[in-house]
């Protein structure tokens, strides 16, 4: 899918802004990430003009949009002022942790996520990078973010825990009512990284079923990546709902053919 959302990193520090750009860019080689870090003379602070320039740099066509992340206080105030002056709704400022938010946003932007998905990934990032993903028993969704309604495809939703590892079902899955569970091996040498995770998330979102991989919501790209499943490991896919069988079949095929990777 085409990348349509760019990121703008605003920080009081030029070094911090470029560092975050580089870090986030590692996972998102096709995403435009512009920086507005420090003052024009190189000192610490926020510059209205640099933020404007960064937006001009990424908003090159009417189809492209941007998500802006900031570090502290005045960076946010200044970014808001720039947006008020520009009156351009292609840029959206989000309230998110800067480092984690930038990385999460870049990952979702790389897979072609729209502005709302990218924004939601940023604001939800604290949860996605917390310990073992969203399986923490005390995990609570963060307070309302500025990004608006959050698409389910990027929420790290709580799932009922499953007895992972104890369900070896090489043939057709066991039935618990309408719920189907199947164990498959992840053949990719790089494990469940961004690309296969994005494929799983897309399949999960396309079917009328509630699907989990090792207990986490399979429609959440970031939760899947947070599992850190290595190549060669077995995972448990559970699917529940009208589209469960179809979803499971498609997922199993992807796993067994290594998601098209060598």
């Amino acid at each position: 899918m085409a990348v349509t959302t760019a990121l703008v990193i605003v920080s009081h520090s030029a070094a911090l802004a470029t560092g975050i750009r580089d870090l986030a860019g590692q996972m998102a080689p096709d995403v435009e990430i512009a920086v507005a870090g420090g003052l024009e003379d190189g000192g610490l602070g926020t510059s209205f003009d640099l933020i404007e320039k960064a937006l001009d740099q990424v908003l090159v066509t009417p189809e492209v949009n941007a998500v802006i992340l900031t570090d502290l206080g005045s960076a946010t105030l200044t970014a808001e002022s720039v947006l008020e002056f520009r009156d351009d709704d292609r840029a959206l400022l989000v309230d998110a942790p800067l480092v984690e938010g930038a990385v999460a946003a870049a990952v979702v932007a790389q897979t072609g996520g729209d502005q709302a998905s990218v924004a939601a990934a940023a604001t939800e990032a604290v949860m996605s990078f917390k310990g073992s993903g969203s399986r923490s028993a005390n995990a609570q969704p963060p307070a309302a973010a500025q990004a608006g309604p959050v698409p389910a495809s990027v929420l790290g939703a709580e799932q009922p825990s499953t007895a992972s590892g104890s369900m070896e079902q090489p043939a057709a899955g066991a039935d618990r009512g309408s719920r189907i569970v199947r164990s498959v091996t992840l053949r990719n040498s790089d494990g469940l990284h961004a690309r296969p995770a994005a494929i799983v998330a897309r399949i999960a979102a396309e079917h009328d079923a509630k699907i989990t991989i090792n207990g986490v919501d399979a429609s959440s790209l970031l939760s899947l990546m947070g599992l850190g499943v290595p190549g060669g490991a077995d995972v448990e896919i559970a699917a529940d709902g009208a589209g469960a069988e179809a979803a499971l079949a498609e997922l199993v095929e992807q796993f067994e053919t290594g998601f098209g990777e060598d």
């Binding site: 610490l44 105030l77 002022s81």
Partner: protein, 209 residues
Amino acid sequence: MVLNTTWARRWVELSAQTVSEHRVELIELDRAIGDGDHGENLDRGFTVVLKKLGEAEVATVGDVLKLVATTLMSKVGGAAGPLYGTAFLRAAKVTAVEELGSEDVVALIEAALEGIVARGKAEVGDKTMVDSWGPAAEAARTAAAAGAEPLDVLRAATNAATAGAVATEPLVARKGRASYLGERAVGHRDPGAESTALLLQAAVDAADE
């Protein structure tokens, strides 16, 4: 002097002078409870404002304030840039006249306050410049309602702002960098409240000349 465009220009000149004179004091207030750049930011910002004003054609008081707004917005940095920038921009919108009456003075101060609150979302008591602008707006309203002349409305506002700045000293900050300091902010005057008092005093001084 009447509060006309000439007065507005003079206000800007005296503002630049006062932030320059109080630069170190403002830096020190900001160093105590912030990141130490307030005095420097305002001095730099108003230096550029003076230069642009010298080259500009202005007809109304609002024209002067708009020039101040856009310059401060991009040259001041820190929180003061967007806050004062928005304040002066909103004030400019309600002063598109060649001479201010008492109601115009009230409108100017109220618009500035609204802009600052819209941007920074602070309330009176948070230990910010709102602790100067809030009382200033109220004093202006009261004076105008009692039939005061424009300059006396401005004077009432300025006195309230000055008292408001001093009143920030015992407060714990709920906004800005100072809000990270907890009780350690107590006993220090807020630099934004202080600079507000200085700028409003400059407005009065410009009219008293």
